[in-house]
């Protein structure tokens, strides 16, 4: 990793490492482009001129307005792609910081996916805003005053198989058969036993999750259940080793005035013995924005 201090200006695509790309394809080329962070609502009082932020690779961020909405962009000539993980992480943090700042300055934004780049200059961005204006304004109006929150529930000490036997006859029965059988059949029964343990744990998680979703329903506009393990765990060696079993991960779309109510609804869950609740936000509504466009063809 590069070690020359924090935030060395990332070099975009065309990296030395680019040749390592599995399919060997180079990134798309552009002469002039605008990296799009988010679209926001603006009026006379909005700090369009005053808004300042540092972009993904240290570029100055600007605001392009048209018809009561604005795109938060920076000027770029290449897509951002790198095999240097540290660099990708820095880009992602910057992207999120800019969208966050825009959200604070202008209200709930429509956040765009990392590396969304419009071909052309500011004028092209304006044209795009004009062409998509109706859809964008509608979406902004719908999201106004709403933010994304994330909830992760972890059970520090999930019940052991022995404890599950106490309440599940089938499992207790399998245990007896294992204890009373010879080596050959014992192996098969053990497999059945493991499967039963997994099923019971799954049921338990589903129950706890359903209970939580119930508690949150009246305070949220939308609740989505996410994969239990974040991408981090897939690659192994996640940065934060957490003990216990993840019961569920939820993402919520919440009106800002309901934040406290959501927190209060989580309290009784967090108070349970051995349960840890992580509640984060407010974030831009990344998971609650649709695919846009496609209507121009």
């Amino acid at each position: 990793m590069t070690g020359d201090g924090p935030l060395d200006p990332g070099v975009a695509a065309g990296d030395v490492d680019a040749a390592d790309a599995e399919d060997g394809e180079g990134p798309p080329e552009i002469d002039e482009g605008r990296y799009l962070y988010c679209v926001v609502s603006v009026d006379e009082g909005s700090p369009v001129e005053a808004f300042e932020a540092t972009g993904v690779s240290d570029e100055p961020v600007s605001v392009v307005t048209n018809g009561g909405i604005a795109a938060v962009v920076h000027s770029c000539e290449e897509v951002y792609d790198s095999a240097d993980l540290g660099r990708v992480r820095r880009w992602l943090v910057r992207h999120q910081s800019v969208v966050d700042d825009a959200g604070e300055a202008f209200g709930t934004p429509i956040p765009f996916q990392f590396d969304t780049i419009l071909r052309g200059d500011d004028e092209a961005v304006e044209e795009w805003l004009a062409a998509e204006g109706d859809r964008l304004r509608e979406l902004l109006a719908s999201l106004a005053g709403h933010w994304e929150y994330r909830v992760e529930v972890v059970e520090r000490d999930p019940p052991s198989a022995d404890r599950l036997e106490e309440t599940d006859e089938e499992l207790a029965d399998l245990r007896e058969r294992i204890d009373g059988s010879g080596e050959g059949t014992g192996f098969l029964v053990e497999k059945q036993y493991e499967k039963r343990v997994e099923t019971l744990r799954e049921h338990r998680r589903a129950e706890l999750t359903a209970d939580l979703a119930d508690r949150l329903a009246e305070h949220t506009r939308e609740v989505h259940e996410l994969d239990r393990s974040p991408a981090a765990d897939l690659a192994g060696g996640s940065g934060r080793e957490r003990e216990g079993e993840t019961i569920c991960r939820l993402t919520l779309l919440v009106a800002e005035e309901r934040e406290e109510a959501v927190g209060a609804a989580l309290d009784p869950v967090a108070d349970r013995e051995g349960i840890e609740v992580r509640f984060t936000g407010p974030w831009p509504p990344y998971t609650f924005v649709p695919e846009l466009g496609g209507g121009e063809e």
């Binding site: 990708v88 092209a124 795009w128 496609g294």
Partner: protein, 93 residues
């Protein structure tokens, strides 16, 4: 309980930044679906997050947030979101 918006929380969000967010399909857009390296290396990138602090990135992130809070007072009505970044920091320079 109150929501937090600290480093751990941000780390969790980064895969969201990459995978979610509005996706734009328009003829003005540079196709990013095929950007090779970012996609391939993503899981690994997120996984190595513990090293972020080493880059000094998070202290920078915090510093920017505090600066933004100061700027905001100039044009904001004073109603801020509940940002949990802490008003004091042990900024070890």
């Amino acid at each position: 309980m109150k929501p937090s918006k600290d480093e751990d929380a941000l780390v969790d969000l980064l895969d969201v930044v990459l995978r979610d967010g509005a996706i734009l399909r328009a003829d003005v857009i540079v196709t990013v679906a095929d950007v090779p390296l970012v996609g391939i290396k993503l899981s690994a990138a997120i996984a190595g997050m513990e090293t972020m602090t080493e880059y000094g990135l998070f202290s920078e992130w915090d510093a920017r947030r505090r600066a933004a809070a100061v700027d905001r007072r100039q044009y904001d009505d004073g109603e801020h979101g509940p940002l949990d970044v802490g008003d004091e920091s042990e900024n070890g320079e």
